[in-house]
């Protein structure tokens, strides 16, 4: 193993080590959430994963963005085969190892090149869409600052990586043609052959230098990318898979049943019940009703938050947002992620007993936002990775109502009516059948 191979090994281990460490930190943060059982219906869950995440089943509802996204996504997946070859090359000095495949290899490389070009073009179009064309969902206030730069950075990152890949191939092909060193003749280069003429005037050594520089630049760029996505909204390229697998399979209209409430209500309704029976069952304390902070949410909701790619499809379909209310389901997800990240870093810095005095509600998400929701499920329907902002809104409402009794006055009146008259209006139950007599 030569020096370059050793250097490569160190970089590789460093990159994966850092990545693994961050991944474990996120996993720890997600598991700060409450438990929820999503181990049922494995078949249906796999099906959802294949259809929604792998098959991009929900992206195509917006045809242009959906199509371009599929290009970038397919390019990303398939070009990874070449990355594997490059990694092996870095470790063992086996240049173009897969060329033993012969004609198949040529076809593969040709495909990679075409895909690389398509990715490049798509990312360029995405950049224009985000920054030049005024698309409302990219310009909302929760997208200012870091979220906007994050989105642009990723696109620029991909463009640079793809350019490096193509330049590398072009210089490689030139070296192949000149019979330089170990550059075996392998691959076909339908795209980068247009770059080749640039190198025609250069000496063998210069072309070799270009090839080496782009090779290293490209692979280090990929490792950088790997470690960038983990701190960015781009995490969805990995988390979309578990996120769709664990997503809610029930009818969207079905809101979760709170079992802690069920046992209390049963007790209230049945005077003979033993008030200690429930506790004796060894059930652990359910904590607060609903959610005040991010750790009161369940781990699927936190996984949702880390998976959100801030595309804003949810918000652009949200009736409250469309009509100018404060509520934006995308912001609900972004706030949840920011808050659980903050809780996680407090934990790392100050230990488990530290309380920062902040909470998801009020410090991140306002009352005005949660009470503007019509529970219409447009957001969950629109989300391409099956995120459920509505469930978080509901849990925040539950906290506001059951722990603080701080619902808007009109809703408190409605609750009282339901309790006293069995109807949300102040109508006596005895009048329920009056319609039958009226003409």
């Amino acid at each position: 193993m030569g020096v370059p191979n050793l250097i490569f090994l160190v970089i590789l281990l460093g990159a994966f080590g850092l990545f693994g460490k961050n991944l474990m930190r996120i996993r720890r943060n997600i598991l700060l959430g409450r438990d929820v059982d999503r181990t049922d219906q494995a078949g249906k869950r796999w099906y959802t994963l294949f259809r929604v995440a792998l098959g991009q089943g929900k992206m195509v509802t917006r045809p242009i963005a959906g199509f371009l996204h599929i290009l970038v996504y397919a390019g990303f997946l398939i070009i990874n085969i070449e990355v594997l070859e490059i990694v092996l090359d870095g470790l063992f000095g086996t240049h173009r190892l897969f060329s033993v495949l012969g004609g198949t290899y040529d076809t593969l490389i040709a495909c990679f090149e075409v895909l690389a070009l398509l990715v490049l073009v798509s990312c360029a179009i995405f950049l224009v869409r985000r920054n030049v064309i005024n698309i409302k969902r990219f310009g909302m206030k929760e997208m200012s600052g870091w979220p906007k730069s994050d989105a642009n950075l990723i696109l620029i990152f991909e463009i640079v990586l793809m350019s490096a890949l193509l330049t590398m191939n072009a210089s490689d092909a030139v070296l192949q043609a000149r019979g330089f060193g170990h550059y075996v003749t392998a691959g076909s280069f339908p795209v980068s052959e247009f770059i080749q003429p640039i190198f025609s005037g250069l000496t063998d050594d210069s072309v070799f230098a270009v090839e080496r520089i782009t090779w290293w630049f490209h692979i280090i760029g990929i490792f950088g990318f790997l470690n960038y996505i983990i701190v960015s909204k781009h995490l969805h390229i990995m988390f979309a898979f578990p996120n769709t697998y664990y997503s809610n399979l029930e009818a969207k209209g079905r809101f979760t049943n709170m079992e802690a409430v069920t046992s209390e209500v049963k007790m209230m309704m049945d005077p003979t019940a033993d008030p200690f029976a429930a506790d004796a069952g060894g059930e652990e304390d359910a904590g607060v009703f609903g959610a005040k902070d991010a750790t009161d949410l369940n781990w699927v909701q936190l996984l949702n938050a880390y998976t959100c790619t801030e595309c804003g499809r949810c918000t652009s379909e949200c009736p409250a947002n469309i009509t100018g209310k404060e509520l934006s389901p995308r912001k609900i997800m972004m706030d949840t992620r920011d808050r659980i990240e903050e809780i996680g870093s407090n934990l790392d810095k100050h230990g488990a007993d530290y309380i920062d005095g902040k909470s998801l509600i009020d410090d991140y998400i306002s009352r005005e936002e949660i009470w503007a929701c019509t529970s219409c499920n447009a957001c969950t329907q629109a989300c391409p990775v099956n995120i459920d902002p509505l469930s978080i809104i509901l849990d925040l409402r539950r906290y506001a109502v059951m722990e603080e009794s701080s619902a808007p006055t009109e809703l408190n009146m409605m609750f009282t009516n339901v309790e006293n008259n069995g109807a949300p209006w102040q109508m006596p139950a005895a009048d329920r059948l009056n319609w039958a007599e009226e003409e």
Binding site: V261, T262, M427
Partner: protein
């Protein structure tokens, strides 16, 4: 229902009228229209009358799980005592709550929305519809969230409209992309948060832009919201908001 039970009879279906259908003047008309259809086909049905109570939907969406579960358990007790098997409702909120949220609390029934039941009656030949009354009219259908997205019922209401010989013009945001009328999630019972516009106005504008003469829907709350929207646009003279049950009853001259 009490009466039927006393006579030892079981209805084919229990009609869950709902709070709007019982108390709201506009929604009562939908209740009556639907009952007329039931009478015409001679289906044996019962209502709980004063034994019915709010399903708890607005309490649950409003975050008051305690109140919801108390309502749910009371209702389930009544329904189970009568050994009810099948329930029809004219309200997608009652439909959703009883169908999806009662089973976990011990209330398992087959629940259908009235548009589904009517569709079934047409398909099995109990009900035939003369389309004459709506011939040449343009109708647009507003998908109630708790019928559509919440429970994936999109085709039953549309199949009824086809039978009416009317021209169905879809809004741009329809079916899975349907825009809410603004009433769900307990919004019906409070003023909206501040914003640029009311949701029902946004939706009404979209409905009007199709040039429809009738805005059809299948939910008493959507009906209220759209009717208010029409009023705010001062179009109550030429555009009607109707429930599908009312349209069928009208077509039958009931």
């Amino acid at each position: 229902m009490a009466q039927m039970a006393a006579e030892g009879k079981q209805p084919d279906v229990l009609f869950w009228v709902g709070c709007a259908g019982s108390f709201d003047d506009r929604a009562k008309k939908i209740t009556k229209a639907f009952v007329k259809i039931l009478h015409q086909v001679g289906l044996s049905y019962a209502v709980l009358g004063t034994e019915e109570s709010c399903t708890g939907d607005p309490a649950k969406r409003g975050g008051n799980e305690f109140l919801f579960q108390m309502q749910a358990m009371m209702n389930i007790e009544v329904l189970n005592a009568y050994e009810i098997k099948r329930i029809v409702t004219t309200c997608p909120h009652c439909f959703n709550t009883i169908k999806n949220e009662y089973p976990e609390l011990g209330g398992e029934y087959e629940v259908v929305h009235h548009t589904q039941l009517i569709q079934e009656l047409i398909e099995n030949g109990s009900l035939t519809i003369q389309g004459g009354a709506f011939k040449g009219k343009k109708i647009t259908f507003h998908d109630p969230c708790y019928l559509g997205r919440a429970n994936n019922v999109y085709d039953a209401p549309r199949s009824l409209m086809q039978k009416l010989d009317a021209e169905l013009v879809e809004m741009k945001r329809c079916r899975t992309n349907g825009l809410c009328c603004g009433a769900g999630g307990a919004q019906m019972f409070k003023e909206p948060e501040k914003g640029a516009k009311d949701i029902n106005v946004e939706r009404t504008e979209e409905a009007l832009s199709t040039g429809a003469d009738i805005i059809a829907t299948g939910c008493p709350f959507c009906n209220t919201m759209m009717t208010d929207g029409i009023k705010s646009k001062e179009r109550e003279g030429d555009v009607e908001v109707l429930d599908l049950a009312e349209m069928i009853a009208q077509a039958q001259d009931l």
